[in-house]
């Protein structure tokens, strides 16, 4: 596997412009001769479908949900960053670039991040023009807030529903192209395999989730915008249907997988309440702007919070990080919560929770003031827990929320398979080892609106692609492969449900490859995951048949892939003998318990190449160079 990141040369602020000029264009009259498949309709997939179709390409867009508007980008609450500097508070493209590289703990590509920061300003303009109802000041200009530890106010938001509004903007732009006849939509279709012909991605195999029909779809290029793989943990803030199947099947065709162990555990989620729990709900981290996080100083202190006097409380973030306090980045806040719970100072029935207390904020701003800022979040919390956060402190605990890892792509968002582009959370590119708040929406839309439409043209203009027939042997093989897996899953008829396996896998990953990892635990996981996988293929029970709407079968295929991907996550975590961002190896920490990077040996992207079933994947490395933001230990003290 050859890893050529195709990073342009020259000063960083001119690289994207230079690249855009160097890339070939497709003649407007020729664009309609090309067809492009886009899988996924979140911010990345929706915006890419719309933008490519506007240029004149024929786009075929697929999603497993009943409507493209359901994609999980919709659940993002907090906001989207852009270096507009509307607040005159010292923000700039360079500062957003700097913050993102540092926040990613020096494991992201500088050139990509700079491009992201440059494009951020165009995204806001585009979304406003589409009718996204961003929050406004009385004078009619856009409002901003500070978010996720940033020291400038560069986050644009639409109440607590920013993701929803941006997604609807992209969805509507795409639906406009459906009206124009340039986007063809395939809802309730799940991609189950990639079709590769002569080393180039030329199509996908889908299963129609209502009829069970398995079919090949062909095109000149394939774009995966299928999101992250955080549902490997079973309990996560992801939508229930979110899965890794598309990227995993691409990986098995030779797409390199970058940094699979870089997963983000979000610090402010509602804690688990019982065995039956099906997912975890995130509370926007904007709550940390005014809420104070604490636990009792005493271990196993079972008093209700109101009876614990001030001097017996430990505001541990404020104590450990006086400069940033409750606003330290996500990885640090999550780990600190785990540490105090491990000490036995966690709160709530399970002991896996910490308080997020608004008593001071209510005193300072009044109940009304707090309600204005966080009303919808407080209501949501009360709806789920039955507790009133205006009177009792919230209980929060970290949960799997985002994956920085994903399929490796070059500067032009192409994977190691020619013609296979990967955008949004599904790729590994811009967040390094830790993503900052309000940056996921930015990256998804940057890729879809403003990067892919250019780089796709260059690929198509340079390739001579023969027309292929749906009867091609590559299609037949891929279809047979899909049908074989389905048949196998339905025929096992064992004793355990798909969910019970998924839950067990999730517990394993959470325990050994979660917020803190060590070699011993990872080795244990690497023994237990293959055993679990073996049991899965002998003992899973999938009811029903293929030729119908069969939700158990859908899940079964996804969990089968998680059972393989989980192993790669552990393998990568074990290989990376350092701590950085969301990857915290207990063996590598400073005396104060902070992450200890090893820039000498691990300043690279780990890219894994599939070598066949039950064979250890091959590791390749893309070295990272830092010319502008020099690696230092991240300090938020």
């Amino acid at each position: 596997m050859k890893l050529d990141a195709r990073i342009p040369s020259g000063p960083i602020e001119q690289r994207w412009e230079k690249c855009r000029f160097e890339m070939k264009l497709v003649n407007p009259a020729n664009k309609r001769k090309y067809s492009i498949i886009v899988v996924g309709t979140g911010l990345a997939g929706g915006s890419a479908s719309a933008s490519l179709a506007e240029l004149g390409y024929n786009v075929k867009t697929y999603c497993f949900q009943d409507s493209p508007r359901r994609a999980h980008s919709i659940a993002a609450q907090g906001g989207i960053n852009a270096a507009k500097n509307y607040q005159n508070d010292g923000d700039s493209i360079y500062r957003l670039f700097y913050d993102t590289v540092k926040g990613g703990d020096f494991r992201a590509r500088e050139s990509n991040v700079h491009r992201l920061a440059e494009i951020s300003v165009n995204i806001i303009d585009q979304c406003v023009a589409q009718g996204v109802p961003f929050a406004r000041e009385y004078g009619g200009v856009l409002a901003n807030r500070s978010f996720g530890g940033a020291q400038v106010s560069r986050t644009f938001y639409a109440r607590g529903q920013t993701g929803q509004q941006l997604l609807l903007g992209a969805y509507q732009a795409m639906m406009r192209q459906v009206a124009a006849g340039r986007v063809q939509l395939f809802p309730r279709h799940e991609m189950l395999d990639l079709i590769v012909v002569d080393g180039r991605a030329r199509g996908i195999v889908t299963r129609d989730l209502i009829t069970g029909k398995v079919e090949s779809h062909l095109a000149d290029a394939v774009v995966l915008a299928t999101g992250g793989y955080g549902n490997a943990f079973y309990l996560a803030t992801y939508a229930k249907g979110a899965n890794a199947t598309a990227i995993w099947r691409a990986y098995k065709h030779g797409a390199g997988f970058g940094n699979p162990c870089f997963t983000q555990i979000h610090p402010t989620c509602i804690p688990v309440s019982g065995e039956y729990q099906s997912k975890l709900t995130l509370m926007s981290e904007s709550l940390r702007n005014d809420g104070r996080i604490w636990v009792p100083k005493e271990k196993r202190d079972k008093r209700p919070p109101s009876q614990i006097p001030e001097q017996e409380r430990d505001y541990y973030l404020e104590r450990r990080y006086p400069a940033f306090g409750n606003l330290v980045p996500r990885d640090i806040a999550s780990r600190a919560a785990k540490a105090v719970c491990d000490e036995g100072r966690g709160v709530g029935e399970t002991g896996l929770g910490v308080y997020l207390d608004f008593a001071d904020a209510i005193q300072r701003l009044g109940r009304q003031g707090v309600a204005e800022r966080y009303g919808n979040l407080f209501d949501m919390y009360q709806l789920i827990t039955g507790e009133d956060p205006y009177r009792v402190p919230m209980r929060i605990y970290p949960a799997s929320h985002y994956t920085m890892g994903g399929l490796w792509v070059d500067y032009r968002l192409m994977s190691t398979i020619q013609g296979l582009f990967v955008i949004g959370e599904a790729n590994f590119s811009d967040h390094g080892a830790n993503r900052l708040g309000a940056s996921a929406l930015m990256q998804g839309l940057a890729d879809g609106y403003f990067v892919l439409p250019y780089t796709m043209g260059d690929y198509l203009a340079n390739e001579k692609l023969d027309k292929i027939d749906p009867k091609h042997s590559a299609c037949r093989e891929a279809e047979e492969n899909v049908n074989g897996v389905t048949k196998k899953l339905l025929s096992i008829q064992g004793r355990r449900t798909v969910d019970s396996f998924h839950r067990e896998l999730g517990n394993l990953l959470w325990e050994y490859c979660g917020m803190a990892r060590n070699a011993q635990g990872l080795k244990m996981a690497l023994e237990r995951i293959p055993a679990l996988r073996e049991e899965y293929w002998q003992n899973v029970r999938v009811p029903g048949e293929n030729e119908e709407f069969n939700q158990s079968l859908e899940k079964a295929g996804r969990v089968a892939d998680f059972l393989e991907l989980a192993e790669l996550m552990c393998l990568d975590a074990l290989d990376r003998n350092e701590s950085c961002g969301g990857h915290f190896r207990e063996e590598y920490q400073t005396p104060e318990g902070e992450a200890l990077r090893d820039d000498e040996n691990y300043c690279h992207v780990s890219v894994w190449e599939y070598q066949g079933a039950e064979r250890k994947p091959a590791l390749h490395k893309e070295p990272l160079q830092f010319e502008y933001v020099l690696p230092t230990q991240r300090s938020y003290k």
Partner: protein, 258 residues
């Protein structure tokens, strides 16, 4: 606590359906309604029976994928809530609940409690957008938007497209859904150039999709999980009327999308 469920079971769009009785013992009050159904389904699978199909995805009340009738109420008894955010603490031990899919000609049943809501997408295709290509936007602050207009637009834009309004309406009208989109875009300066044409085209499409007409009953507003106000229907009607009077024929009245 114990809950008794009567659930509509229907193998596919063409098969006849029927209510089937199930008992779920040991329901925890902290469970969400869908988690209770998960528990029932795990039990059914272990017993070798077919689990109950229902749509769901985010389970945070924002994606709009879940939804069915509980004792005749869309999304159940709690106002302003999707069924995924409805928790069992709102029910009593021994409650008997009747679960049925959305009932509307425009929403054919896929299986059990899952329905096909693609008609909503086709209404959006008819005009639920601002026609602006990527790259052609002016600076975000170039056009000021009054805070109140932005807020009211956002109130309407909060619609999640779940279809509860249609299910609750005796006429199976989609007016709350369509009115919400027309209001979201029509309240902003960016939505003005296509405002009347949008109302004409979306309303025409709604009719073609076999949704009924609005007779101002208000059941939609009562069940809307995002508390969208009836006012949006008034706004749709006003834009539709103005459009009908002033239209000079350039509007395609949905034919382009058909």
């Amino acid at each position: 606590m114990k809950i008794v469920l009567h659930i509509w079971r229907q193998k596919n769009a063409n098969a006849p359906g029927r209510m089937v009785r199930y008992e779920v013992p040991n329901v925890n009050t902290h469970m969400s309604f869908l988690e209770m159904l998960d528990v029932l389904n795990e039990d059914l699978i272990e017993k070798g029976e077919e689990p109950v199909a229902f749509d769901h995805d985010c389970r945070e009340g924002i994606c709009g994928m879940c939804g069915f009738m509980i004792n005749g109420e869309a999304h159940g008894p709690l106002p302003g809530t999707t069924v995924c955010q409805l928790h069992m603490r709102h029910f009593q031990n021994g409650d008997e609940l009747y679960l049925e899919p959305w009932r509307a000609r425009a929403f054919p049943v896929v299986k059990d409690l899952a329905v096909d809501r693609c008609a909503f997408d086709r209404i959006i295709v008819a005009g639920g957008y601002v026609s602006v290509n990527t790259g052609s936007a002016p600076d975000g602050n170039a056009i000021p938007v009054a805070k109140e207009a932005a807020e009211r637009s956002m109130d309407a834009a909060a619609c999640i497209g779940c279809g509860a309004c249609v299910a609750a309406c005796p006429n199976a009208s989609a007016s709350l859904f369509v009115g919400a989109k027309i209001s979201h875009l029509g309240l902003l300066p960016q939505g003005q150039p296509e405002r009347y044409r949008r109302a004409l085209n979306m309303a025409a499409r709604m009719k073609q999709e076999a949704f009924g007409s609005c007779t101002n009953i208000g059941a939609c507003e009562a069940v809307c999980p995002k508390s969208i106000k009836l006012e949006v229907i008034a706004r749709m009607n006003r834009d539709f009327l103005v459009g009908s009077w002033t239209d000079r024929g350039e509007a395609e009245r949905g034919e382009a999308a058909a």
